[in-house]
Symmetry: D3
Subunit: 119 residues, 6 copies
Amino acid sequence: MTLKEWQEYRQRMNEKILGSGHLGIRRFFALDHHAYEAGALSPKVKELLGLVASLVLRCDDCITYHIIRCHQEGVTREEFLEAFNVALVVGGSITIPHLRRAFERLEEVEAAGRSEAAS
Amino acid sequence: MTLKEWQEYRQRMNEKILGSGHLGIRRFFALDHHAYEAGALSPKVKELLGLVASLVLRCDDCITYHIIRCHQEGVTREEFLEAFNVALVVGGSITIPHLRRAFERLEEVEAAGRSEAAS
Amino acid sequence: MTLKEWQEYRQRMNEKILGSGHLGIRRFFALDHHAYEAGALSPKVKELLGLVASLVLRCDDCITYHIIRCHQEGVTREEFLEAFNVALVVGGSITIPHLRRAFERLEEVEAAGRSEAAS
Amino acid sequence: MTLKEWQEYRQRMNEKILGSGHLGIRRFFALDHHAYEAGALSPKVKELLGLVASLVLRCDDCITYHIIRCHQEGVTREEFLEAFNVALVVGGSITIPHLRRAFERLEEVEAAGRSEAAS
Amino acid sequence: MTLKEWQEYRQRMNEKILGSGHLGIRRFFALDHHAYEAGALSPKVKELLGLVASLVLRCDDCITYHIIRCHQEGVTREEFLEAFNVALVVGGSITIPHLRRAFERLEEVEAAGRSEAAS
Amino acid sequence: MTLKEWQEYRQRMNEKILGSGHLGIRRFFALDHHAYEAGALSPKVKELLGLVASLVLRCDDCITYHIIRCHQEGVTREEFLEAFNVALVVGGSITIPHLRRAFERLEEVEAAGRSEAAS
């Protein structure tokens, strides 16, 4: 699945979930959104927290989401590598397949950024 | 187990593990140590990454360790609360018992800091 | 993978596993089957237990299976939403990608039911 | 830790967490509370969902909490055993140590109920 | 909890579980027992498999059990260290607190063996 | 994804990760490699440990990798079945979807071995 397809699927299904009329689920999604907003910690640090949590819990979709958001918050490649390394040490070799896909996504996100900048 | 007892147990057993003569295990411990050193990300941010990873993976000992280290790196109570909140949202209510113990440890660490400052 | 393809793959591979001649594995599959049969708790409640366990453990195939079975046992959309909400609160935002796919599967299962009813 | 000590510790630390002034955390605790209220599914079924989720995720404190609540909602010993069995089959032998402690807690909860009824 | 207390608790609660009258649970315990019996793989190799699985899943009671059984099957200290190392690499630093307790248990098991041999 | 495509993707992304210039990540990959080399335990036993750890942690890519390596080390079908059974009992029914894919991969690996032997 390309990054663009992933984003469309995510948005389409989130709309179905939020449109399902369950108040508890809607509120959970709102809490999830607010957790990464600026406060005592910056959005950049919070997105890095979300990225490392997603890596050690081994959730590819969550990793993709936080790579996109980290990139938007200005996380550099060197910073990504250090966050990946923390996750790898904490979570062990079982995270490596997710790290491979994370690298691929990071390249897609960087390429999309460059193509946007060029246009 | 008090914070002090925990620290003594940790140090005593780490010495046994490192003294066991297994090169791979020694190297792993070294990698673990280096992962949190200053680099593209600061030790403070890296310790926060370690703390949130430990909370979502629900490891009380790891949480205690990173609370101590975060406190040493100057993480404020407001910053701790925001990191706890990210972990709670990512990891769900199953992390709440660990959050209770994290709050208790944080109070111990803060009290130890105050008593040290007073002397 | 469509619901139909998923069911065919599941059945084909289960036959291979059961045909492999390992008694322990065969017995495990039998225990798994019996665990959801009527007893002190109804099959409907047991399938809901299986669904929520599958969501918090984040296993898409297991979620698909229990959505099919819950639907057969008469679980309504409102009941599905409440079970999803319990799983989301217990398991946290890391379960959201699985919830998106669960919603998609639920729509497929409901559509298959309607098409069957219409014919 | 006895059941009573566990309940006191839980209440004391929950008050500290809720008193910490973090809105997101307070809201999460509210969502958690509401998830088990009567709706399309009964509190009894929802507490059973919480119990099985806690068993497969192997959280002793969560198991204790849901055993207390299930008992209050009238879950019988036969129903507990069937829920335990679903959790054991889904989660495997790694859940057995938690099942041992769950049995112990269930006996404590039943004994507390009898002593209350007798007085 | 000493090794002896742990063994007594385990046996007492297993008897309660097996005496509870639930056929599925009894059968699961039998399957669990048979999984480690001699077959195409030796009990020694199977207990090592159980030990590493317990370490990466981070279950202290399961680790204790398989350390006892591995020791009975003649696993040497060097073999224990290599199995610990595989688990550490696969499961990451989050397994380290369990490794500390595993080392402590291993010393208890070795000491109990020596004291038995001496008498 | 066929076995061949999987191997090419794995190799291509590993090269990117190792070429990223992060010393900690490179060292982790080296530790991971050395953990399975001959020592007090044979590579065959170590690969079986890696396989069972991968099954209970439910990582399809890791399972595929260790099936390939186990097959190279001469693990027979009967031995694979016994290792699968240990993983199934420890990890529970939640591992079954991974067991289905493991069986499929094992057949691919055996077929590739036969076709190589024939040429």
